[in-house]
């Protein structure tokens, strides 16, 4: 009996592997991007959801099992997943997805990172000396990453190379058009002073020209405390802000506390695909983000 179960599950695993590329994305944005580029040619799942902080999950058994069967891992890199991804790769017993192999794709290696300090001192909090890893919040990065990812898919599945190239071309065209639309739509956001919860928003601010005046976290990765918020409130008197930005996976308490006392608006942004009911794919993600930002300024 046991032998039969093992035999059939092996057969099943072998079957699905042939039917499509088995892709495990570390975050929903990369799952969405892979889906755009591969369509039915890939079976894509995401290790984290929009409700989870990609820096703070564990290499739990179900993820190890999924990594075991993956042909391709699509992750952010730049130490964002440092607390679980290396373990996932090592525990998977899967040679294809090890660092340096074609089956491991790091999006952050494709773009120029902001806040690259080069030196690390944890007195500065949980800093990423290699740069800020939250790159997808600037859609221009999706173009660069998308082109590289399409090449990688073609490398892993050469039989369908033409399809990946064509889908990428289509994606580049649609995304470029959307970026142009968003940029003209967001002219009014340029120079708006904002408070952020974690440096998740550096790329969005960089793209839209938002001015980040403060961070709810006293140091990156260190949760705000009552005293740190109080001193922040003091600082806002000298440098007033109009919005507080936070992701759905972050607690609303610090943002609401500060918003109520500073008399400004706290906005929950989707951060990634699935972060709000409207953010169903990479396009609606930015539609919804801009709508929320503009709505909050009215």
């Amino acid at each position: 009996m046991l032998f039969r179960i093992v035999f059939f599950s092996l057969l099943l695993a072998a079957n699905t592997a042939h039917a499509a590329l088995n892709v495990l994305a570390c975050e929903p944005e990369w799952a969405a991007l892979t889906q755009e580029l591969a369509g039915d040619l890939a079976r894509v799942t995401s290790a984290t959801t929009a409700k989870q902080d990609p820096h703070h999950i564990e290499a739990r058994p179900s993820l190890i099992a999924r990594a075991r069967n993956a042909d391709l891992l699509v992750c952010t890199g730049a130490e964002l997943e440092v607390g679980w991804l290396p373990l996932l790769q090592r525990e998977s017993g899967n040679a294809r997805i090890q660092p340096g192999r074609a089956g491991f794709f790091e999006a952050s290696a494709q773009v120029r990172l902001l806040e690259k300090s080069g030196h690390a001192d944890r007195a500065q909090g949980d800093v990423h000396p290699g740069g800020n890893p939250h790159i997808h919040a600037d859609p221009r990065n999706l173009l660069t990453v998308g082109a590289a990812l399409a090449r990688r898919l073609a490398e892993l599945d050469p039989a369908n190379a033409a399809i990946y190239a064509a889908r990428n071309q289509d994606f580049q065209r649609r995304m470029s058009a959307a970026i142009a639309r968003w940029e003209s739509d967001a002219v009014g956001l340029r120079g708006v002073p904002v408070v952020v919860h974690h440096r998740s928003w550096s790329y969005l601010a960089d793209w839209l020209g938002l001015k980040v005046v403060a961070d709810l976290e006293p140091k990156p990765g260190i949760e705000p405390s009552v005293s740190s918020l109080a001193s922040l409130l003091d600082g806002l008197k000298a440098r007033p802000a109009r919005l507080i930005l936070r992701a759905g996976y972050q607690s609303s308490k610090p943002a609401d506390w500060l918003a109520a006392r500073a008399g400004i608006v706290a906005v929950e942004l989707p951060y990634t695909v699935g972060g709000s009911a409207a953010a169903k794919d990479l396009f609606s993600l930015f539609d919804d983000t801009l709508a929320r930002l503009k709505g909050a300024l009215k």
């Binding site: 093992v6 599950s9 695993a13 984290t48 959801t49 409700k51 989870q52 902080d53 703070h56 564990e58 290499a59 739990r60 058994p61 179900s62 190890i64 099992a65 075991r68 069967n69 890199g77 730049a78 130490e79 607390g83 679980w84 290396p86 373990l87 090592r90 525990e91 998977s92 017993g93 040679a95 090890q98 660092p99 340096g100 952050s108 290696a109 494709q110 120029r112 902001l114 690259k116 300090s117 080069g118 944890r122 909090g125 949980d126 000396p129 290699g130 740069g131 790159i135 600037d138 221009r140 660069t144 590289a148 960089d206 793209w207 990765g221 260190i222 949760e223 996976y249 972050q250 607690s251």
Partner: protein, 457 residues
């Protein structure tokens, strides 16, 4: 510039040595000269730094203004790229305990056990080094330092590229049996070890040998593992390991999955077989005098473990809960002898009652829950219970134990960041028959420096 400043500073330090020869006036003049030179150098350095800082600020402003287009590898900013990831764990505690030696009643003391010191003490300082050796292998070492000793807790290599779910590890490693066995003390959720692991292995079971693991290609996590090793550590022994072949072997199976998005679990079953020879243990004989016994035979242990973790939406940052429980049964059979202790008033008499068959069937378990109720703060409760079970010493003058050593522990800890933790623990310790210690207090800190560690589930 640095060199000269250093020279000046070094001279300033060295000056008192040559003071005998020089007069006071000379000395003052010399000192003044050096000070002026030093001040001037400092000023030069400051201006140089300020200029560089300004330049860098300018470049940063440019960088943020320009759109991200260039492609560059993310890793080029890190120096020491090829050096191993290094981390150091600092730990220490203050413990409030009853005076006198404490041991767990009815169990042959397992291996070496850390801690137990009263008052202020420094726990082991753990140094971890790890890196990929080449594209196919990874290496790892964990060395625990204490006064006058550096203990190699782990030192192994592991394959990365076998594929098909296979991984082989060789060297000294923490055995994959049970759940808590692979955790180093700094990863424990309580200040001290569970009674179960204390009697089974002292701290935990380290194998010198080879481990092979296979992960099934299923959507559910199914992992099978086997180890063969020297078996030099309790429940094995030095002499047991000194043979051609393996002094111990073990098998384990783990299965795990998620319940929805909020919960995940892992369950395991493990078996350990060891062949100790002349394994030394101190016991109290019928006259309450310490007797040294030697055991040779077979030791077989079954372990079952279960872990369940919960976090709202699978996001453990603000709140999360962890439940963990393990159970064991151990059978030991073989020959035992005791050293003559009649000089001390003991009952072990050479040639009369100093050796016979020994057999023991013992069991125990612990269960613990740890709840993080807000960022940084956690509370936990653990219960430990052992059963001395059926023990036969034959004609050896050692009393047959009949006890259920148990312990309640309550802890609260505070983690200013993911790299630091402070803990308070209160415990009712009833592990020593007739000598309960109901007011154990432990204050503890654990900090990790360096590479961002990744702990297993």
């Amino acid at each position: 510039m640095f060199k000269r400043t250093l020279l000046a500073a070094a001279m300033a330090c060295a000056l008192p040595l040559s003071a005998h020869a020089a007069t006071d006036a000379d000395l003052a003049a010399e000192l003044l000269k050096i000070r002026t030179e030093f001040d001037q150098k400092m000023k030069e350095m400051q201006t140089a730094y300020e200029a560089r800082l300004k330049e860098m600020e300018g470049r940063m402003a440019q960088a943020t203004a320009a759109p991200a287009v260039a492609t560059s590898p993310a890793k080029d900013a890190r120096d020491n790229t090829f050096n191993p990831e290094m981390s150091l764990v600092l730990a220490g505690s203050y413990a409030h305990r009853k005076p006198g030696e404490r041991h767990i009643t009815g169990f042959l003391a397992g291996g070496h056990d850390h801690g137990g010191a009263r008052g202020f003490s420094l726990d082991h300082t753990e140094l971890t080094l790890a890196a990929n050796i080449d594209p196919t292998l990874r290496g790892y070492a964990n060395i625990a330092f204490a006064d006058g000793e550096a203990e190699v807790e782990e030192a192994w290599f592991q394959t990365l590229a076998l594929g098909n779910g296979l991984a082989v590890r060789g060297g000294r490693f923490l055995s994959g049996i049970g759940y808590a066995n692979e955790q180093h003390p700094h990863a424990w959720d309580f200040a001290d070890n569970s009674l179960m692991y204390s009697v089974l292995f002292g701290e935990h079971l380290a194998q010198d040998g080879v481990q092979m693991k296979w992960l099934a290609p299923t959507d559910t996590f199914v992992e099978l593992g086997a180890e063969i090793g020297r078996g030099g550590n309790f429940p094995g022994s030095d002499d047991g390991g000194n043979r051609n072949g393996a002094g111990a072997w073990s098998l384990f199976a783990h299965i795990g999955d998620d319940f929805g998005t909020s919960s995940s679990w892992r369950a395991g079953l493990s078996y350990l077989s060891a062949r100790p020879e002349n394994r030394a243990t101190h016991v109290e004989d019928i006259n309450d005098v310490e007797a040294e016994t030697l055991f040779s035979g077979k030791s077989k242990t079954w372990l079952a473990d279960f872990v369940w973790k919960w976090a709202p939406d699978g996001n453990p940052k603000a709140r999360n809960f962890k439940f963990q429980t393990e159970y064991f049964r151990r059978n030991e059979r073989g020959d035992m002898s005791c050293a003559d202790n009649t000089v001390d008033g003991g009952a072990c008499t050479a040639g009369v009652n100093d050796s016979d068959r020994y057999s023991a069937r013992q069991s125990g378990w612990y269960a613990q829950g740890v709840y993080q109720f807000m960022p940084r703060w956690r509370v936990g409760l653990r219960h430990d219970r052992l059963d001395t079970g059926k023990v036969g010493f034959g004609i050896l003058p050692v009393p047959t134990p009949n006890a259920t050593p148990n312990k309640w522990s309550l802890m609260a800890d505070y983690s200013p960041s993911e790299f630091s933790r402070f803990r308070l623990q209160l415990a009712h310790d009833r592990s020593m028959q007739g000598n309960p210690d109901d007011n154990q207090i432990t204050l503890q800190y654990m900090h990790s420096l360096g590479a961002h560690g990744a702990h297993k589930f």
